[in-house]
Structures are given as structure tokens and as C-alpha cells.
């Protein structure tokens, strides 16, 4: 139906390095000795723990409730015993700790009773509540809660299978092996959002995945057909160009719509889900399985690279040990080489947004050559997919001139890394932008609290002033009352005295009168 594809500006073509991990089918990993489920899994807040140490839990049992409308629940990834609730390092560039529930598996993998929902008959509210209760977040890496995205009214639903970042192949393998579930999940999401068409965008370097998805749409399950006609869903092969998998870039390629930086894609009647999210939605609604595992690509300098169905909470060190890390590995990247980060601690557990682990050695990723001065060649501006001028941003960030960086739309930058990739002077541009962004956020937060403190201080001064005048008025009123009372008392005393005097006078007259009578 759509014959024409569009293009976005900029972009790069790095070596894909996909075949290292994409040829083997998805494998299971043995359960580690303990699973560390972090309470913070979604980008919009942490869950509230509802178990205590010593509790026996079943696989898929809720162990942390969603807090607030944007919260997401967490579930036990296997059956076992809760042994500890305490802080554990997060898979985050800071290496900060977050509260986590530690479960010791009993090895039985006993599931909690499954409660499937029929998407064709269940109400929309029930379906969205189930997505929230199943703890589903965006699995492409941003971990935005899916129930918030599903609760929108749109025209076009885009299923993101582009997977543009080098090395990562988890979505590729998922589409090849579990296309039917992805298609059903996409149909359910289209039913929830009221979308009239579904576009599945896949980069053309994944022909097997494209073929598998096309076949799955032809043989769509009956339950999915109730939600969406098969001819409304289309697989579209998009040219391989990093970062086509970016939300707004994919929207541009598939529909030709340029979503402005300050708007969301829902404002243009579009919503976008990752293929893995659609798959998880299908498992949660049709099979009653909460989100307890995800597929993680382990690649780079390892003995057995591939894609692994990993229970959430499995420590990174255990997963790498199972895949066999080769000697010479200097660091471990989480996420891809473009947008990922170096893990500060291998004790960090796998979370819902972890799509890829790359064991990096100096042969695979040579250490960056020394940074040289910017020569203003403009390559970065030509490669920027969102039309920024990274060299301007770089100068402003380097000089800590935050206002100037904001003036050049620093917050439009999505840190895709194209500019740093093409920079002939090897300047770590994204590091400067991340630094400037966090400084600006901190400064804005400080301004907000200062403003709050100022208004509270002013209100307090006003209140003290008011209390003082009120007290003065009260005292004055009381004083006036006392004076009036004293005055009235004085008056009545005078009257009494006058009356007394009058009485005295009259009695004197009375005494005097008879004598006068006697005289007369």
C-alpha cells in the first residue's frame, strides 16, 4: 500500500557486526544462585515492595506493586524464597544503588496460576490495567511504561523492528522465531489505541526477519483477526542507516511526517512500540504471563555469542560467565556501542531495558585516539539526524556556557552519537552534551527550589507581620474595653455616691421636719 519511503537528514553507516550473534537461535540460561530484582525498572518511578524476607514466591507472582498511575509492577522471575531486600548497584552509568528484592531460586520454576484475558471481549480499561499490572515497559531501552502509551487515540501504529544499532540482534532473533506473538501483540495494541493501520518497520539487513513477519501476518491467529484485519498490517523494509530505529526517525521514514522536537509523536496521531514490547503484551494478555524475562544479546569478546532468554534480575557477571568471557576483555558495554555505556559494576542485574551486553576488548574497540582541537569541518552537523549544530553545542558545553547550549537546542539532542562517530578530531562530543544536560537540569532544579523557598519566606514574613498587627489590634481592643469598663465603673460609683448623698440629705430633712412641726 505505501509505495514511497521517506528519508531523514544525516545518519551514518557503521559496521553492523550483527552476524556474530544473529546466527544461533535463542537459548535459555541456567538459573543463577540468586536473582536481584530492582524496584526501579520503568523510567517513571519505582515499585512498592509487597513481600518480606522469608516469603515463598511463585514465578510470575507480583512482588512489587505499581505506585501511582505511571508506576510499573515487578514480578518474581522464578519460584523461590525472598532472602534479602536491600540496595544493589543499578545498570546505570553512575553505578548508584537502588533497593532490590533478592530471590533464591528453588529450581522448580513453578508458575502462578495464569489468568488470560480475551482482548476481543475484555474492556479497554481491563486490558490497560493488565498491561500495567504485568509490569510491561518499553523494551527498546527507554523503559517508558507501556500502559501509558497504549492509553492513547491514534491513527497509525508503528512497530519498531529497525534495530539500527550495531552488534544488537535480540529483536532480529525474536522476529525470526516468535513472529506470530509479535503480530498478535501488535494487533492487540492497534485494537487498544484504535489505530487503523499498523506499520512494522524493519531494516533491510534482516531479510529473514522480514520474511518471518510477512508469513506471520498472512497466517494471523484468529484472536488477532478479531482485533485487526490482516491487510491493515504491513511489514516495510527500510534502508539500513543509523539511527533509523529512533522513534521520530522511523516515523519520518515510514510516514513522511516530521515531528517537531517539542511535540510527541502522539500529537501527530502516531504511536510506536518495540517488537519485543508487542511480544510481551501478547504473552501478558493471552497467556497471563507477567514480564519476568527478556532476550539479551551477549556478544563481543565471548566464547558463545548469541541471544539468551534471561530472567530479570540475573547478575551481569553470571550471564557473562555462562557465555564465557575471553581473556583480554577490558570493559563491558550495556546497550550498543553507539548509545550504550560502560558498566561500572558487573554485580548490576539485568533489568527490563537491557537489550545487549558487549564484552569489549582492545582488539574489537580500540581505545579512542587522543582528542584534538575542533577544526570546524562541519561533518558533525551533516551527520546529525535532528538537524543540530554539534560544534556550536560543543563549544558552549566545553566553556560551561549553559545558556548558549540551550539556545542551540541542546535538549533536542538524543545522544545518538553520529557526530562523535564522524568527528575527525575524535572529540567525545556526546560526553560533553551529557555533561551540559545534567548541569542544566541541576541548575533548573536549584532555581525551582530557590523560587519555592523565596515564596515561602515571603509568606512567612507576611504572616508574622499580620500576626503582629492582629495582636496589636487585639491588645488595643482589650485596653479600650478595660478603660471603658473602668470609666463605666467610675460613672456608676459617682451615681451611687450622688444617690447616697441625696438619701442622706433627704433623711436629714426628714429628721428636721418633725421638729419644725413641733415648733409650728
Amino acid at each position: 500500500m505505501i509505495s514511497r519511503l521517506f528519508s531523514f537528514r544525516g545518519g551514518i553507516k557503521p559496521d553492523s557486526h550483527k552476524t556474530e550473534s544473529s546466527e544461533a537461535s535463542i537459548r535459555n540460561v541456567p538459573l543463577p544462585s540468586r536473582l536481584v530484582v530492582l524496584l526501579t525498572q520503568g523510567s517513571q518511578g519505582a515499585a512498592r515492595t509487597i513481600v518480606t524476607v522469608g516469603d515463598k514466591v511463585l514465578k510470575g507472582q507480583c512482588i512489587g506493586e505499581a505506585e501511582g498511575v505511571a508506576g510499573t509492577a515487578i514480578h518474581a522471575p522464578t519460584s523461590g524464597t525472598v532472602t534479602e531486600i536491600g540496595p544493589y548497584p543499578m545498570a546505570h552509568p553512575s553505578g548508584l544503588a537502588s533497593p532490590a528484592i533478592v530471590i533464591e531460586p528453588d529450581g522448580e520454576e513453578r508458575w502462578i496460576t495464569h489468568e488470560p484475558l480475551d482482548p476481543a471481549t475484555a474492556s479497554r480499561e481491563d486490558l490497560i490495567l493488565r498491561i500495567q499490572a504485568s509490569g510491561i515497559v518499553g523494551m527498546g531501552g527507554a523503559t517508558f511504561p507501556s500502559h501509558l502509551k497504549a492509553d492513547s487515540e491514534i491513527e497509525t501504529l508503528i512497530i519498531n523492528g529497525a534495530e539500527c544499532e550495531p552488534w544488537i540482534t535480540c529483536d532480529d532473533r525474536l522476529m525470526r522465531e516468535r513472529a506470530a506473538h509479535i503480530v498478535t501483540g501488535s494487533a492487540i495494541l492497534a485494537h487498544l489505541t484504535g489505530a487503523r493501520q499498523v506499520l512494522v518497520g524493519i531494516e533491510d539487513n534482516k531479510p529473514e526477519a522480514i520474511a518471518a513477519m510477512r508469513t506471520a501476518i498472512q497466517d494471523m491467529e484468529a484472536v488477532a483477526r478479531k482485533c485487526l484485519d490482516a491487510d491493515k498490517m504491513n511489514v516495510i523494509a527500510v534502508p539500513t542507516l543509523y539511527p533509523t530505529g529512533g522513534e521520530k526517525q522511523l516515523v519520518r521514514v515510514l510516514t513522511g511526517i516530521d515531528v517537531p522536537p517539542d511535540k510527541r509523536i502522539t500529537d501527530s496521531g502516531i504511536q510506536c512500540f518495540n517488537v519485543a514490547t508487542a511480544h510481551t503484551v501478547c504473552r501478558a494478555l493471552l497467556h497471563g504471563e507477567s514480564m519476568v524475562s527478556r532476550i539479551v544479546t551477549v556478544t563481543g569478546s565471548v566464547e558463545r555469542p548469541g541471544n539468551y532468554e534471561t530472567p530479570l534480575g540475573m547478575p551481569v557477571a553470571d550471564l557473562l560467565a555462562f557465555c564465557g568471557v575471553k581473556p583480554g576483555t577490558s570493559r563491558v558495554l550495556m546497550g550498543g556501542p553507539m548509545m550504550g555505556f560502560s558498566l561500572p559494576s558487573l554485580d548490576a542485574p539485568i533489568a527490563k531495558g537491557c537489550n545487549c551486553l558487549i564484552a569489549a576488548s582492545n582488539e574489537l574497540f580500540s581505545p579512542p585516539p587522543p582528542e584534538q582541537p575542533c577544526i570546524r569541518c562541519g561533518n558533525c552537523a551533516n551527520s546529525c539526524p535532528v538537524g543540530l549544530q554539534p560544534f556550536e553545542l560543543y563549544w558552549a558545553s566545553r566553556a560551561k556556557n549553559l545558556d548558549r547550549a540551550e539556545h542551540y537546542h541542546l535538549f533536542t539532542c538524543m545522544e545518538c552519537g553520529c557526530c562523535a562517530y564522524v568527528c575527525p578530531a575524535h572529540i567525545p562530543l556526546v560526553d560533553y552534551f551529557r555533561f551540559a544536560k545534567s548541569e542544566i537540569r541541576a541548575r533548573n532544579e536549584e532555581r525551582k527550589t530557590a523560587e519555592q523557598a523565596r515564596t515561602r519566606f515571603e509568606f512567612r514574613s507576611l504572616r508574622l507581620e499580620r500576626e503582629k498587627t492582629e495582636k496589636a489590634a487585639r491588645l488595643a481592643a482589650k485596653a479600650a474595653e478595660t478603660r471603658a469598663k473602668a470609666a463605666s465603673e467610675a460613672d456608676s460609683a459617682l451615681i451611687a455616691a450622688a444617690v447616697e448623698q441625696a438619701k442622706m440629705q433627704s433623711s436629714v430633712q426628714d429628721k428636721a421636719a418633725p421638729s419644725r412641726d413641733q415648733q409650728t
Binding site: T40, M90, H92, P93, S94, L96, P370, E371, K400, P428, D431, Y432, R434, F435, K437, S438, E439, A442, E445, E446, T449, A450, E451, Q452, A453, R454, R456, F457, E458, F459, R460, S461
Partner: protein, 181 residues
Amino acid sequence: MLAALLVMTGIALVLGTALGYAAVYFKVEGNPLAEQIEATLPQTQCAQCGYPGCRPYAEAIASGEAEINLCTPGGDDNAQKLAEMLGREFKPRGTPVEKLKTVAIIDEQTCIGCTLCIQACPVDAIIGSAKQMHTVVSCYCTGCELCLPPCPVDCIALVEEPRTPQNWRWKYPVKGLKVVA
């Protein structure tokens, strides 16, 4: 000659009336300079400058009574900003302190409910009443330390705000120096 005098007098009268009208009807409320100064102050309301709050200090600077480097939480950065804004000479404070944001915490077991800290708090961030336990609303606390001296049982402590991924900051990129020889 007479015509010229009359014209000039007429113009003077018209302009004078206009200016007089403007002075009455377009009068600026408050002191705009003090407001600009106040916007740069950190609003901790800590009174460490010797004035009972940020606003009074800003007014004192605006009227030329106070030095521009008295603000402890603002530090040298703030003094520098004020020096640029007012065209006054920058005098360093001499005590460069990089302090993390702190908030007051009341040990509720020890608190006797005397309300002295409530009266001292410049931003009404402590709640409680006489002979009842007090507590600090930490999101309003500015860490000004004004509640510490009045407490008769020393049950208030200042703690650093915990680091979370939300308030964690990326470091300034530093390039490593290559060792030669």
C-alpha cells in the same frame, strides 16, 4: 522673539505635565534593582550574611549598605555575578566550599516538642505543635542550619541529600594525559 518664548514655554508646560502624569501613574512598585539582585541569591534564607533573609540582603546591597560577598551558600560564584551586574569590585570570600545540598532531620525519639525550631525556620518547613513530635518537610528545607542553635536537646542533624539517578551529574569530560618518558 515673543512668539519663540511662548512656543518654548508652551512645550515646557506640555512636557512637564506629561512627565508629572507619568511619575504618578506609571510609578514602579518596589526596587527593581533589589529584585534583580534577589534573583541571583540562592534563597536559602539562612541569614548568614547578617540580614534576616535574602530579600533584606538584596535591598541592603541595592542601597549600597552591604558588601556583595557576604552570601555563604552562594559563595564566590555569586559574588562574581553580583560584581558583574553592579559594576562593583569583586572581593573573594577566601573560603571556597563545594557543599552538597543538605536537609535537616529531626530525631523524633529525642524531640521534646518545644516548638523553638518551628519559630526559627525561615521557610516554615518544620511541622508540629507544643508537646507534640516535630518533623521536617524535607522538600521545603533549604539546609540553612537556623534550627540547630535553638534546639535544647540537640535532636536536629543536617544530612546530605542522597544521590539518585535523577540528581546524579555526568562529569566534565577529561582527556587523559599520555605519559612520555
